[in-house]
Symmetry: C2
Subunit: 379 residues, 2 copies
């Protein structure tokens, strides 16, 4: 049989300034590119496996996981295939079908899917709506208390540390305290935080943290991180009665290939950038200020922004699109001419973007480009 042409190139997205928030935290540093080269073949990390992926010494997955646990301040850590797979593993191991769990109203769709796959009922804490869309932790506590009253026991409460729509940062420590006071195991979805900003599982008193290598840890996807307190290891990392070395919830081994090699190679780089997080936020805030000087562009979510992912309401772009010969495509196309990509094609009422990891000059170039496009076309 003849194969079709699959177009397996990505020059445009790799070589230009990519504003897609999904892509900014997953760009590989040089060391990870080298690891990708070394471990590109098939089952490459398994040459010296004696039965447990997390115990492999060459490459030193075992030392790496120790370092990762130290970095995240958790007792145990495993790699999984992504944040969603980590959430499912925890929900599936901790709950029974039909159990209710409490989650925040800014949860990623994969949190809903993980709960649906595990057969759980979702009780939601709504966000504050226009224009902050914030999760009020008093409201979270109230919802959790009501749920306990109603059901007797709640086996899991989840908070999205930084959400993917507004980049709102929730207070993990407060959440950890609420849950621990109410004796409810807590899980923090750190897909947009772990690898960008500091995570302290023990200080925050969080039972489970999940992260995403491809989203925020400079790793080649798919890979995620699952950290937990010692008291849950027996439940979530229980061994097979038949294959006593193997962890059932992990199906034996998880990240058996190149992604874990890139995650390992990137750790020093990730530690360094996490130390530099405050500077990153400042640069984002400057970027937001520049765009908000444009009449008809407004940042949504909590202000000032505490994360590089920002969402803008852009009525001015929508206004322009009504009369522009290229309609809604003008913005995407004009940005692309300027080597800026990652904004959804044809969309003008709002956009979300991130300049994470760009130099100050690059961020200024992006802001000025948007300013110029609006000035060029606005009447």
């Amino acid at each position: 049989m003849e194969c079709q042409n699959y177009n397996i190139t990505r020059g445009v997205e790799r070589e230009n300034l990519n504003l897609n928030p999904l892509q900014r935290g997953g760009i590989l540093p040089r060391e990870a590119r080298e690891a990708l080269y070394e471990f590109g073949d098939g089952y490459s990390v398994c040459d010296y496996c004696a039965g447990r992926l997390d115990e492999i010494a060459k490459p030193s997955i075992n030392s790496f996981l120790d370092d990762l646990a130290t970095f995240l301040h958790v007792d145990h850590v495993r790699t999984v295939h992504g944040a969603r797979e980590g959430k499912f593993a925890v929900m599936y191991a901790m709950c029974e079908p039909g159990d209710p769990i409490v989650i925040d109203g800014n949860a990623h769709y994969t949190t809903h899917l993980a709960a649906e796959r595990a057969g759980l009922e979702i009780i939601e804490v709504p966000n504050s709506g226009e224009k902050e869309f914030k999760i009020d932790l008093n409201k979270y506590q109230e919802t959790l208390e009501l749920a306990i009253d109603k059901y007797g026991e709640i086996k899991l409460a989840l908070l999205t540390h930084v959400d993917g729509n507004y980049g709102n940062l929730s207070n993990a420590k407060e959440f950890g305290e609420i849950c621990s006071d109410l004796n409810v195991p807590s899980i923090l979805n750190c897909a947009y935080s772990m690898g960008r900003l500091p995570i302290d599982g023990n200080d925050w008193n969080i039972d489970f943290v999940v992260g995403s290598g491809h989203k925020s840890m400079a790793a080649s996807g798919p890979i995620g991180v699952l950290g937990m307190k010692d008291e849950w290891a027996e439940t979530v990392l229980k061994r097979s009665p038949r294959h006593v070395k193997k962890e059932v919830e992990m199906l034996g081994c998880t990240s058996r290939g190149a992604p874990i090699a890139t995650l390992m190679a990137s750790l020093p780089h990730v530690i360094e950038r996490v130390n530099n997080w405050e500077n990153e936020v400042e640069l984002t805030q400057e970027f937001v200020s520049k765009l908000e000087k444009i009449d008809g562009i407004e940042q949504l979510g909590t202000k000032p922004s505490e994360h590089d992912l920002v969402r803008f309401d852009t009525p001015i772009l929508h206004e322009i699109s009504k009369n522009h010969p290229r309609k809604g495509f003008f913005f995407y196309e004009d940005l692309k001419k300027r080597k800026i990509v990652g904004i959804k094609r044809g969309q003008t009422e709002w956009f979300k973007c991130s300049t994470y990891g760009m130099s100050k000059e690059q961020r200024d170039y992006v802001a000025n480009s948007i300013l110029e496009i609006v000035e060029k076309f606005a009447n």
Copy 2:
């Protein structure tokens, strides 16, 4: 914090002749190396996602999956994270906790783990024992019939197409007929066959086939393939009531990164090598004949071998190790001097190996090397 040195190199295993059966089918061809370069960053295949990984048109994951379904002769196909994740998805979607399923006695440990994770009871069809370790399909049928008599309904029967211990190839078509006659949904674990030899889901009347990209499809791990008949799509690929585009069992999307790009890039190469499978088996049989000329080396499993994975009983190596100054390590070390790796260090009573994809000269070199080592040290 300071990271330890993780030793993220693999020169020895990449550059030498690697006999590890786990590694032979996952070596990337040039095209896949290029795809790895293009799609190495994070969430790279998701630039143009409109909500469904399997429908992405750039790169053309949609056309690729169509071609893959044609290649495997199945109605629907999805990528998963590996064969084990595919098996779990099917077991979890098709069965209820406590349900019994029937599997063959040569099943991979991940089949057991997937069943344990899904809470299923395993009914095993034993293999024939020394020295063939064969799965007798009459015995399989008998076991399945007894199980149906006892439990009323069996929701799934699994056969390991080619097992990882002896390289025994089972008759998939016969298995498909047995299951369909008894009205039991069938799943074929093709981790060691899909991508090496032809798979024909429809002709064999198999309900589910699972394969492994990193093991046998020249892809960067972790990635697997799950193919199925149309009648099961509603069950295994059911959509989320809340996020109507997303498939629950897949947690929305599975292979969001470089592995799927390499799987796509490798498909033409894989199709070609599958067409060449008979030649591959002949070369393996020649290799086996050469080794069996050595007194004290004997192939186990069905004979002549029908797969590149072969297991040898090697009493002669064990004999040598008793008097050799390097004890059991002599074999590994002497092979390594000759640029041959992938045999377990220190093991002398038996070994399994594969010369899959090597040139005839390379295979002869390996066989002659083993012959020379034995001649050098045997009294």
